[in-house]
Amino acid sequence: MNSLIPLLIAAPLVGAALLLLGGRALDRFGHWLGTFASLLSFVFALLLFSSMLGRSVDQRPVREHLFSWISVGTFQADVSFQLDQLSMTFVLLITGVGTLIHVYSVGYMAHDERRRRFFGYLNLFLAAMLLLVLADNYLLLYVGWEGVGLASYLLIGFWQHKPAAATAAKKAFIVNRVGDMGLSIAIMLMFTQFGSFAFGPVFATAHQASQGRLTAIGLLLLLAACGKSAQVPLQSWLGDAMEGPTPVSALIHAATMVTAGVYLITRSNAIFDLAPTAQLAVVCVGAVTLIFGAIVGCAKDDIKKALAGSTMSQIGYMILAAGLGPIGYVFAIMHLVTHGFFKAGLFLGAGSVMHGMNDEVNMRHYGGLRKYMPITYVTFGLGYLAIIGFPGPSGFWSKDRIIEAAFAKGGTEGWILGAVTLIGAAVTAFYMTRVMIMTFFGEKRWQPDAEGHEPHPHESPKSMTVPMILLAFGSVFAGGLFVLNNNFQHWLEPVTGFSEGNSPLSSGVVMALSIACMLAGAGLAYVVYGRSPVPAVPPVGSALTRAARRDLLQDDFNHAVLVRPGSALTAALVFFDSKGLDGFVNGLAASIGGISGRLRRVQNGYVRSYALSMFGGTLVLVATTLLMRSV
């Protein structure tokens, strides 16, 4: 059974290789090949899952050594996989949601002539992501990590003929590099400290390392997580990444890739638990991003960018929960899974709306679509209920547990975090209600597109609606299933550990508070957007709104703090290089050239002139000899 683990990765990898190297011959059925590869991987995952459930809790984690990758002295890097409950959760989410999105893409990309390549990239992404979560050492994880970055770059820039997409891809790649740097340095630190990359030895000996070293590793891992998961301060790429096709946004930037940071932190729990400073930093990053993303989400008129802000905010929740330690790991992963369902559903719904509206993304040009796209409306609505934490659907359970865990952190910290998560819940309800109202309710505000075609909203084809329906099921029932008998908690506890914490508030109170916040946010949104018609042209708005529309000035900040000094430094280096070093070198060459040019005239070709130099030389020699003898 364990031999299925490499096959889990191999299926999409072979699919990607076939699709990318196969050429035009595969154009006709390539998309089905890609979908099949993904589905195969999902089937393997299910088989492994059932086999895992059949074993006792102690026997569940398994290891599969494939081959020894690099073996130099004490440096030992293996390609071996570890499938425990945490990895299993991710594998199921990745392959499951991934397969649904493959199916969706068949319809969504039907008119794109490069569809085969798109599926190749999707498969490549799946393979890299599975490698990331299945690796049993940090080095292999890093391979998957970089592979995910590459696939993300390729997919965001899939429509590379659009300058915005090409730029967004580059931006995502470069910002991710910052995080990757953190991960690579963390791995090097680990090797110097523990002499190994493998999870087992590292976690087993983590307690022997000095506090400073652990904190450094923790902070570097956090930097890596920030890059991949679009957390402050490396959040700026996610909004622009929406230039990619919508399935990409759903798969990569909602359900899977951006959760890699959460995975990394949860996986490294042994290190973080020993480094409270790093943990505090994790919590702070999560809290800041939670609010940051929510505010951005409130101001965006672009439906995908609003959802991107929401993603940022929800991952902020997860990072915050992961930073809480054993109190929060389980709920971070739980929220990750439920979020994977409902956010993917929401993105697919947004894609479906765009599909019906001539690729219009501005919500101010939507309105009243519920009659025209009933299935999209219902699935999107269920996702909406899940994300705002309406009691019942999955989001409510997971988010409520995170809020509870935040309070359970205890002390002033607990109160602050609890307050932040509650505010976040209210803002989430506000912006999601706004999206919902502007898209599906109110008056039609449809605008003809650039070529003058009036939009004719229509329901999307089956290949698109079926995944949406399945995801809606997931977003409704997953949460309840997880909290029933604390299933998920017991499932994950052996890996991450769990502690109740000591919450100052009872869970009933927290639940009531969160419902109240949600209702307040949704109600405010209804008052603002539901009661009066939405203007087609955005109002000027407050300073905060204007800033939020510009992603809270993140790009301006990066530009001012990083890009401009960087350019200045580069310019200075270039100046130093061209004027200083090159000047010196060129000057040396020029002076030698000049001297040679003058010296050249000595070689005038006249034999008598040469004879004179010879005679002069002899003169000097004789004079020297005589002088030396007489001395």
Binding site: N604, Y606, R608, L612, F615, G616, L619, V622, L626
Partner: protein, 293 residues
């Protein structure tokens, strides 16, 4: 110390040798230089004899003055016996630098020799005990036999080298007189025989070009070799001047007015002037060839 006789001989010979050397250095014509050098070499040969190097003295006369200097003279004749160096120095500062270097070098050598201490002076009595030639022969064929053999190889190589350098292979068979005549007719360039050198009743040397009716020289009348060496003499100006003088004296005798007398060339030129411009003739030949084509 040497005998007084040798001292007198030395001073005479030294004056001759240095005079010859300076003459060689300062004479403009190569043939004069060669003769001066020959004088120096003979003086040196006598010096050798005086110093007991009988064999070398004889060899000096036979090989140097007899063979080498004659070879020099032969080549001088080949190149042009009257050809001279022009006095204009083309290399900037060469002459001054050469003189300075020479002076410095001479001073250094003399200072070095003066510095040396000569203690015992045995003379060649012992070495020449069985005769100079025998002594040399003993050394050459015993101690220096290998060098001697190699010298033989060197001489053969030099002889072969000289032949290779100067020998020119005929690519085609040389044209006969008949073929040359036929070619002249075919090319229609110079159908009649070439004009004869010399000027009627005044000059008949082969290096003086004949004059054309307009008073200029006919270069074809002088043989190629002399033209190439720049040894063709132009007497046209001189002839014109003499004609004018003759006309003048006739006019004077007849009492004609001065306006009818021909003007004398303003600057009388030397009677016989060489035409050093051999390139002009070759250029003219090229031009003529082009026109012919």
């Amino acid at each position: 110390m040497t005998s007084t006789g040798e001292a007198v001989q030395f001073w005479v010979l030294a004056v001759i040798a240095v005079g010859g050397a300076l003459g060689m250095l300062l004479m403009r014509k190569a043939v004069h230089s060669a003769l001066c050098l020959a004088a120096t070499m003979i003086a040196l040969a006598i010096c050798y004899l005086a110093q007991g190097a009988v064999f070398l003295g004889v060899v000096q006369i036979v090989v140097y003055t007899g063979a080498i200097m004659m070879l020099f003279l032969f080549v001088v004749m080949l190149v042009g016996v009257t050809s001279e160096d022009s006095l204009k120095e083309q290399l900037k500062g060469q002459r001054v630098a050469a003189v300075l270097c020479g002076l410095g070098f001479g001073v250094l050598l003399i200072a070095g020799i003066a510095h040396a201490k000569l203690g015992h002076f045995p003379g060649l009595a012992e070495a020449n005990a069985e005769g100079n030639v025998q002594g040399l022969a003993r050394l050459i064929f015993t101690k220096y036999v290998w060098a001697f053999e190699v010298t033989g190889a060197l001489l053969i190589t030099a002889a072969v080298g000289a032949m290779v350098l100067t020998h020119r292979e005929h690519v085609t068979a040389p044209s006969t007189q008949r073929e040359l005549a036929a070619q002249r007719i075919r090319e229609n360039k110079q159908v009649p025989p070439l004009p004869a050198p010399g000027v009627y009743a005044r000059h008949n040397a082969v290096d003086i070009a004949g004059l054309l009716p307009d008073g200029t020289i006919a270069e074809d009348s002088v043989m190629n070799t002399l033209r190439e060496r720049g040894q063709m003499r132009d007497v046209s100006q001189d002839m014109l001047r003499r004609m004018a003088e003759l006309e003048n004296s006739t006019a004077e005798w007849l009492g004609r007015p001065s306006s009818e007398r021909p003007a004398l060339p303003s600057q009388p030129r030397p009677e016989l002037e060489p035409v050093p411009n051999h390139q002009k003739t070759t250029d003219d030949a090229a031009k003529r060839q082009e026109e012919g084509e």
